[in-house]
Symmetry: C2
Subunit: 353 residues, 2 copies
């Protein structure tokens, strides 16, 4: 089944496209009433992630409403630590929590090696199902959390404001931290390659918490392990490249080393001007981003104008995938998402003549 | 009374010093048992801020333990909105809250103009008292929150994770937001000038939340108002310059416009290498920072080594005030602060020959 719309994959490889492709982080999410209904039906969030049928359903929901140029697998970034036995759960209205936490070198040593094909089959089953249902309409993005980001949750036992425990562990148990990150990198490689074999046509690594580190620590504890992952992913499948997107929130200071990681595209948050980012690394990588998700609370006119600003900042030529600078938030009016997606397609044509 | 130790003021003006001066954001704070005792005595946090005697006491406490090169007025960044009638209060273990919030243009219009000399005398009284007690040992830093940062709290009604309400207000009520920021800028000018007249020998503007904005919005909604403040502060008092430090957390992408604001020094968080920052703006401004506060959880040896890394990154010459990249956290062992301060003085001598 040839892809009917491959703008997204082309843009990631910096090939010409007719209009700028667009998708949205957390596009399958709580801002959609149909998502909330399916989640309610699932009983809880983990059931939703672990049911390939329901994960497929919520993956497809936003595509029924909006002309997004890619689907992204619905899952959680913490499936790997959960499969390692850490006991992921969600309290209503709270972030993720783990029943077990990593607090010592022996905790790290005791972590089991996991294999996606036996420990996370619900994920690859969902990928297969989604690809079948997409039926070649748009490509499917697979994803994983970065080793550093996964490690912060495993050590803290959940989210954190200042990452005190994770940083303390890093500073005082540097070797154990590196061992943990290396184990996680190996698991992520297997996880993403399994997603690719199951049908993911591009992959994104979410380094949500790399931006809380010093430059040196970012390079040593986060980027180094993402580089290992990038170097070990399947680069071609179904006869075409499988592009890799690397997204570090608050990573604007480190674009050059991120671009040198081997990834095909760099995800940008909204704090950097995309034109400036293009000057710095646009010859080496595609860029993805980077509208402030909060603009979606503004009027459709304001959204339209801001899309125009970002397209103008990037300018003419190839290598731009439009996205938000971070995930859409639950309170956004779904009509505003229409305004956003339509503006990208409508206003970007002039930059691709 | 001539200053016995004026390293801090000299370094801010990029004049030669014997060793790199050091102070610490939130140096008068909960990591000190004597602070916790005084706070308990005060009953609550607002009482502590509003009693010049107790504010003076906690300002001096860290100087009795450590050879810091500056004192910083103990106060809260939200005194101005409180004086405007917003009703600041603190719940135990929570951040600041306001009884009233700003949600409309008329809320902004109704905000009273305040004057420090009649509405915030507890602050200037504390400054006078602290200067008397310091008796010329080290200079005293006055401070204020930035207009943008104050506005976020006033609109949200407290702290926030994603600043949804404040950003929504900015995007949908741009004129009212500018009016609010301008009113706050005027109040901050009067507030800081009053602190200077009362005896503050340098001032710092804390732009804690500027870093959540896009570049354009940062320039328009945060930096523009800090520039107005900088342009209107008393530049000389007691026969010497009153340096201004501007600190935007997560402002590493915007160092050049910050350095062009007219401030004498730029505060850096820990995400940027200070050597890189010096290459970018070191000819125009002094730099203040920038150790990750979390390093204070590591061993004294690790703290010593990290201080050495930062000093080496800055290199030889003038214009560095050592500090953390953000405030010290309550759980830090006070002995580790000794290791930090001593390391700065001991290891920096070689860079000032």
């Amino acid at each position: 089944m040839p892809l009917k719309n491959d703008r997204f994959l082309k843009a990631l490889m910096r090939e010409p496209v007719d209009v700028t492709p667009v998708w949205m982080m957390r596009q399958a999410g709580r801002y959609l009433p149909e998502y909330r209904a399916t989640r309610k039906q699932a009983g809880n969030f983990m059931n939703l992630c672990q049911s390939p049928e329901l994960a497929c359903e919520v993956t497809l929901q936003p595509l029924r409403r909006y002309p997004f140029d890619a689907a992204i697998l619905f899952s959680d970034i913490l499936t790997i630590p959960d499969a390692m036995g850490q006991g992921l759960y969600f309290e209503e209205g709270e972030g993720p929590r783990f029943r077990k936490v990593i607090r010592s070198e022996s905790d790290v040593e005791q972590l089991p090696e996991i294999k996606t094909e036996k420990d996370l089959t619900y994920v690859t089953d969902a990928v297969v199902l989604i690809r079948r249902e997409l039926n070649g309409s748009v490509p499917l993005i697979g994803f994983s959390g970065s080793p550093w980001t996964l490690a912060t949750y495993m050590i803290e036992g959940g989210g954190s404001k200042d990452f005190r425990v994770a940083k303390e562990f890093m500073y005082n148990n540097s070797e154990a931290m590196h061992l943990l990150l290396d184990k996680l990198a190996d698991a992520v490689i297997d996880y993403l390659n399994s997603q690719i074999r199951a049908g993911a046509q591009a992959v994104q690594i979410f380094d949500t918490w790399g931006g809380i580190l010093t430059t040196t620590n970012y390079l040593d504890y986060s980027l180094a392990y993402m580089k290992k992952i990038v170097a070990n992913l399947i680069s071609e499948n179904e006869g075409r490249s499988v592009p890799i997107i690397l997204f570090t929130k608050n990573g604007g200071l480190w674009l050059e080393p991120i671009a040198a990681s081997g990834a095909d595209a760099v995800g940008l948050d909204w704090t950097i001007e995309i034109g400036k980012a293009r000057e710095r690394i646009g010859e080496r990588c595609a860029l993805q981003g980077n509208m402030d998700p909060s603009i979606l609370y503004a009027s459709p006119q304001a959204i339209h104008a801001e899309v125009g600003n970002i397209l103008a900042s990037f300018g003419n030529g190839n290598g731009h995938v439009f996205n938000l600078g971070h995930g859409i938030t639950p309170e956004v009016n779904p009509d505003h998402v229409s305004a956003f997606v339509d503006a990208v397609h409508e206003l970007s044509e002039q930059y691709h003549s």
